[in-house]
Symmetry: D2
Subunit: 251 residues, 4 copies
């Protein structure tokens, strides 16, 4: 198995008290994938296994940065490392959705507000519904069916950005409901996107579409196929999975 | 524009006499993409531009290595860096073609010969036809239409390998017709694949399906979307493109 | 609007006490579509409308006929009118699923039992889940996602039959839960299929996969696109729809 | 085999000197399909067969009717028999292309000129290229790839019409190059469409996009899947097919 559950430590996020536990004991071996994400590999023994990861992530007491004046870069000004994020990928299809992207957003002034308009459109165009999409569902499918989960909202917005030559990458992580309870369902992993404007990546979340505190990034990639929570070989059966992400106050 | 035309220097390939020329003069700026491929960026001026790249590549006087005893790795034995190459990507769809991969090749003994069987099947199943596929055509489409170019042969074989958890990556380069004239059409860029078996990558070419001398790699990636010869912004019109790849004897 | 809600009267089904009611009063105009199905057209006024159709359908007290010895026809022996039902249609894709159909079922002895094997396979391969498919979902999509509703079970089985040159048509109707409660959800319209074997159409139901009493056919066609319960123009909003199908005892 | 090669006789087209010939002699049996098209069925013997159909079709010396004032019908005014031709079918996807249809043509005044605008757009958007599409290619695929043959031009224009609730059906027939040589390639079967406006079907040809003399209809249907020149069972190999359609002067 390969797990992607560890937060990425950064200037904004420090980890404490990381703890892997498993029953029966399973050795995990860490590595970093091509995108720089922390991953672990493990071999499960035959029979039932349980596996857990715990940590305290120290986050800033602030929502993500916003700068409505941040400009888009002309293609020649894009840093080399961002160019990958304007290409199509398994689920993000700027090539298929290009006509629509240009007809909807091509006439708007470039910059941060255009990306906001993309997020607003996706937020309004899609309805959140568990079970409405599956492992084959692309951004183009979701654009037609108008149903999806956070993964799908994100991938559709990414597709529109890339079609306009705005680098956009898929982000996957923990997003606790702090003072903004959005979802009646139990906490799950969340997906949002980062978009290159000016000289840095900015966080946008077309699913929730409001600034949020407590985003803890696990992985970044071209789309959901790059950052699976668990990749399995040999067909093990997943009995249950629980993701808990809660505020630890007073610390 | 972004160009990927420079061969990758390696233990097998040395370059001499590299020369970029352009009219009007265009500055090129080199960089290396996420996969380690050499790329250059350039800004064309308004109006007509011509652009060329020349080099002499010193190749071994030998066809690619073959070892019919090379084993497949169990998933846990795969090096970290190979894991990316069992995932689906824009055009290679092991998720869609998985049932067919397992029903055709799942019962065969793992190893080099199984990959040969995949190549033989793809070689026989598809017919080469210029113009039969386009920029939206996936390996699943080609599997139905049974028509494609070297790009499509390669992406279908890659999809089958990945479905079986065999890492496979897309390779794009020059492949001169030395003593083995295969194609009546003028030389074009060629595509083939590399597959991880044992402790290294091996070259397979489901299009030609015979060992060849003179493979000169330009780029490697997950599929054709990662290694485009030219990526353009702003919609320039391509008047003509000529690729010449000839043996320079006596040197 | 166009409604398809009236049962087709036949040797097996007689109707009594048919009653259309609407508020405000709406004129309906009946016609018969290309497949011979009874349809009605109506123009709703601006504002809220309610519309209902009631009838008592007299059904035989017997499950559908079964004859495990019924033979498949060679193509030349198929009646002219059945030939339409081996072609692909919007959602039934024998052309896409042909390879799989032949590899799974091509080796079996032709006849009724082969169609049973198709139904059994579809029944086992798919899991029933409300909301898992949408108006763009084809039989090929469902074959991958393995989730669907009765519509999808039926269209996948139809696709496999057609790929084997067995005429199969889509049937849409009422199917009360008499003594066989299958579904905890409130009654909905149901879909099943009819397959031409020997000299007649036979009923198969890959969703329930057991003989049932009380099938009342509303329409038949190539797939679900031909027999919509309601087709609307001008985008009216559907507030609620209730389908009730209950046994009227003692009569 | 099923052949659709006989012209439909009508007020405009009379046939003379119809002659089937085959070697070895093959019995043909005529029937009329669900759409009213003449078809024949035949059983080929093992071994090589040749088969031909000849006739003289008397056509008016006039191009198809044009009436730029012909109105679109409101949905309620559409005749019952035209309603089938606003639904999606195997290759014509008004459901997938609906957003684009409404954004491109939704703001235009309804009527004949709007259908002309659709034809003009399709004519300009696509480039004719033999071999660029295959038996799985839908109107949505062609809209992206921008390459196709007359079949594809027609199916894309039909999809846009249907999305706007304008009934449109696929027509397949002979279209000799009389005084308007359009195509350097040998004559093939041709495809165009008929659209319901006012109180009748009108001919539109998005491929040629100019009025033509000598259209001889063989079949009409929802799309190309309904009107195949030849449908075969048992996998016979087609060695050659020649379609000749020439003007017979002086008669």
């Amino acid at each position: 198995m390969i797990f992607q559950v560890q937060p990425i430590e950064s200037r904004r996020i420090a980890l404490e008290g990381e703890r892997w536990s498993s029953d029966p004991a399973i050795d995990v071996r860490g590595y970093t994938d091509l995108y720089g994400n922390p991953c672990v590999r493990a071999v499960l023994q035959a029979g039932r296994s349980s596996f857990s990861y715990d940590a305290v992530a120290m986050c800033p007491d602030a929502t993500e940065d916003v700068d409505e004046e941040a400009p888009e870069c002309l293609p020649d000004a894009l840093p080399d490392a961002t160019l990958l994020y304007i290409l199509p990928s398994r689920y993000c299809l700027p090539d298929v959705l290009g006509n629509e992207a240009w007809s909807r957003f091509g006439g708007m002034a470039p910059g941060y507000r255009r990306v906001q308009a993309i997020c607003q459109h996706v937020h309004d165009h899609l309805t959140f519904q568990y079970g409405s999409t599956n492992a084959w569902t692309t951004a183009a499918d979701v654009n037609m069916s108008r149903l999806g989960v956070c993964r799908d909202f994100t991938q559709l917005a990414i597709s529109f950005c890339r079609a306009l030559n705005i680098p956009a990458r898929y982000v996957f992580g923990y997003l606790p409901d702090l003072d903004v309870p959005v979802d009646p369902n139990p906490m799950d992993f969340a997906a949002w996107m980062e978009v290159w404007l000016g000289d840095r990546w900015w966080t946008f979340d077309p699913r929730n579409n409001i600034p949020r505190k407590g985003r803890v990034v696990i992985g970044r990639g071209r789309d959901a196929s790059d950052v699976a929570m668990a990749t399995t070989f040999g067909g093990p059966y997943l009995e249950t999975m629980v993701v808990r992400s809660e505020e630890e106050l007073g610390s």
